[in-house]
Symmetry: C2
Subunit: 336 residues, 2 copies
DNA sequence: GCTCCTTCAGAATACGATTTCTATTATAGC
DNA sequence: GCTATAATAGAAATCGTATTCTGAAGGAGC
C-alpha cells in the first residue's frame, strides 16, 4: 500500500514509468494498447499520484490560499465567512484546486501569510479578504508579481485584481430607500474606520443624501467595532442628538441589530420612531423582531468571480476587467 | 528572485548546499562560523525554503485537512463553522501546520475527500466534522491507518479518535432544567435522523425525562432538516397535539429559533405557553425576542483538542484517551 | 531497396530540499 | 610520532512525478 508509485505500476504493467505518467496525464502520444494495460493496473491497485511530487515537479500545488484579515474573534461568529469559504471551496473544486485557509491575527499576520504561504510556494495564489485601506503587503505582493485577488477594494494600485460587492451602490440604495420612505434624519454606523468597506458605504450614504438635496451631517455618523457593545454605545450616542435620527444605516447586520436592540431598549418603536437597514442579509435578519431589512451580498457570486480571476492569473491569463463589482439587492422587511 | 534555492545561497556563502540545509534545520553538527555566514546570506536575500520540495523529501506536507460533511448550503449560513475553522487555523498555526478546507457535497463527496486529500498525500491528516452514524469512509480510513480525528461521535470502532461536545449531557442539562422549571410536556426537535448529534441529544433528552420519572412520549419527538421551513413545520405538527408541548428542546439554534418563530406566529406566548432551548449559543440568540436560552458549545476547546490529537497521530504518538468530551454549559436567557 | 518521416516508448534528467555516506582535518591518547 | 576518534563539511542518493532527449520500429515515397 505504501509502495504505490508510478514505478510499481510500470513494473506490473510491463512498461516504463514515463509511460505510466503519460497515460495518467492523458498524453495523446501513447498507444491504446499500452494505455489500456496501464489503466487496468492503475484501477486494480487504486493508484493515485502523489500530489507532493506533482507539486514539486510541476511547480504548482493546485492550492489556493484564503486569508481572512480580520481578527479571529470577529471571524468566529460571522456567517459571512462560512458562506464565503463554502463557495470558494466549491468553485475551486470545479477547477481541481483546493483551498487553504489562514487568518491574519495582528501580530503574526505580517510575516505569517506573506512568508508562509507565498514565498514557501505552499499555495499558487491568494484571495485576500477585507484588507485595510493602506496595506503594505499588497504593494509587495503586487511588485513581486504574485497571483492574488482581493475581495474588497484597494485604491492605490490599478493593476490589482479585485472583486467587491457594490458597497457604494448598496449604501446608496439603502439610504435612497429610506429617504423615499419619508425619513429625514438618517444616521450611518460604520465599522472600524480603517476598512475600505466602511468608507465605501459611507460614501454611498453621502451621495444618496446629496442626490436628494439632504444635507450631510457629520454628527449623524458613528463608527463601531465588530461587537455588540461597541455598536450599542454608538447608537446610544446618536440617540442623544436632538432631534434624534429617524433611520439608521448599519454597516453590518450585527451592527444594525445591536443598534436596533439598543434603540428598543430605550423604548423607541421600530420602525415608527426609527428605521433600520443592515448589510449581508445574514440568517439573523429573519429571526429578530421586527425582521431586519438588509442588503444582500451575493456571496456565491463574489466567491465565484474571485476564484476564477485568481485561477486565470495563476494559469497565466490576464483577467479583464481587473476590478469586478457584484451588484447588491435590497431585501425589504419590517424594520424599514 | 525566482532563482532562490539553497544551491544559490550555498554558492554565495561559499559552502555546500547540504550545509545550508543543515543550518536552516538547526543541525548542531555545523560550525558557528559557517552558520553565521549562511544565515547572513539567507537574511540578506530573504530566502525561504520551498514547501513543495520539503513535502516531497520529508513525506510531510504540514497541512491538515478539514472536511465538513454537511451540504454546502447548510454550511453557508452557520456561524459554527467559521468559528470552528478560525479556531483550528489558530491552533494548527501554533504547531506550524496549515489548514485545507473541503466540503463534502453528496455526489462528489465519496471520492473527493478520501481520494483527493489522503491518497494523494496532499494533507498529513484529516479532521472530519459531522459524519453520519454509519459511514463506510471512516472504516476505510481506519483500516488504512491514516491519521484522522472525528469531531462528533462514531460508535462502531473504538480505535477511532474523536472529540465531541457532551451532547448527551447537554441535552440532559437542557431537559432537566426545563423539568425543574415546572415544564411537563417537553418536546424535542432533532436534525436529520442519520446524524449522531441528533441521536445523542435525543438520548440525553430521554434520560433526563426518565430520571425524573416523566414518561417519554414519541409523539413529542420530531426531526427537521437544517432549514427554516422544515423546523417550522415540525413545530406546527407538535402544536397539533392535545395538549400541546409546553417546552421545546431544539437540536440547533436555528431549529429552535425557527420553531419559536412558528409558535409565535400561532399566537403562543414565550416563555409562558412554551419555553425554548437551543444549541450552539450562536449570535442569533442575543438578538431575538425573547432571547434564546441555549447550550454553549466550547468551539475553541473542541478545535484545540481535535487539532492536537491529530497532530499527535501524525507525529506518531498515541493520544490518550482516544475519545474526548468537551463539557457544555447552559446559558440562561428569557426563552426558558 | 534505400532514405526520410512519423509514431511511440524507454532512458535520463529535473524539480528543491533532506539525509546518508564519505573524506578531510584536527585533536587526543599512548 | 603514530593511530584512533571526533568534528565537520562536501558529494551523492533520494523523495515520486513530469518531461526532454534518444532510439527503435514501421510506413511512405522514390
Amino acid at each position: 500500500m505504501a509502495e504505490l508509485k508510478q514505478v510499481e505500476i510500470a513494473r506490473l504493467a510491463g512498461v516504463s514509468q514515463a509511460t505510466v505518467s503519460r497515460v495518467l496525464k492523458g498524453d495523446p502520444q501513447v498507444n491504446d494498447t499500452m494505455r489500456q494495460r496501464v489503466l487496468a493496473v492503475v484501477r486494480e491497485l487504486g493508484y493515485v499520484p502523489d500530489a507532493r511530487a506533482q507539486s514539486l515537479r510541476s511547480q504548482r500545488t493546485r492550492l489556493l490560499g484564503l486569508v481572512v484579515h480580520r481578527a479571529s474573534e470577529a471571524l468566529a461568529g460571522d456567517p459571512f465567512f462560512s458562506a464565503l469559504i463554502a463557495s470558494i471551496v466549491e468553485q475551486a473544486g470545479r477547477h481541481d484546486y483546493h483551498l487553504c485557509v489562514d487568518t491574519a491575527r495582528t501580530a503574526r499576520s505580517q510575516r505569517a501569510i506573506y512568508e508562509e504561504l507565498l514565498r514557501t510556494r505552499r499555495v499558487d495564489g491568494l484571495i485576500l479578504v477585507e484588507s485595510e485601506t493602506h496595506d503594505k503587503r499588497i504593494e509587495r505582493l503586487s511588485c513581486e508579481g504574485f497571483p492574488f485577488v482581493l475581495i474588497g477594494r484597494y485604491e492605490p494600485i490599478d493593476a490589482v485584481c479585485s472583486v467587491d460587492n457594490d458597497n457604494i451602490g448598496a449604501a446608496f440604495m439603502a439610504t435612497d430607500y429610506l429617504i423615499r420612505s419619508g425619513r429625514k434624519r438618517i444616521a450611518y454606523i460604520g465599522g472600524p474606520a480603517g476598512l475600505t468597506v466602511t468608507r465605501d458605504r459611507l460614501q454611498g450614504y453621502k451621495t444618496a443624501l446629496e442626490s436628494h438635496g439632504v444635507g450631510y451631517d457629520p454628527h449623524r455618523v458613528a463608527f463601531a467595532e465588530f461587537n455588540e457593545r461597541s455598536a450599542a454605545s454608538a447608537m446610544a450616542e446618536l440617540l442623544y442628538l436632538t432631534p434624534p435620527p429617524d433611520a439608521v444605516v448599519g454597516m453590518d447586520d450585527l451592527i444594525a441589530l445591536s443598534a436596533m436592540r439598543e434603540a428598543k431598549r430605550q423604548g423607541r418603536r421600530i420602525p415608527e420612531d426609527i428605521a433600520f437597514i443592515g448589510f449581508n442579509d445574514s440568517p439573523l435578519c429573519h429571526y429578530v423582531e421586527p425582521r431586519l431589512t438588509s442588503i444582500t451580498v451575493d456571496i456565491p457570486a463574489l466567491a465565484r468571480r474571485a476564484t476564477e480571476m485568481l485561477i486565470m492569473l495563476i494559469e497565466g491569463h490576464e483577467p479583464q476587467p481587473k476590478r469586478q463589482i457584484v451588484p447588491a439587492r435590497l431585501v425589504k422587511r419590517e424594520s424599514a
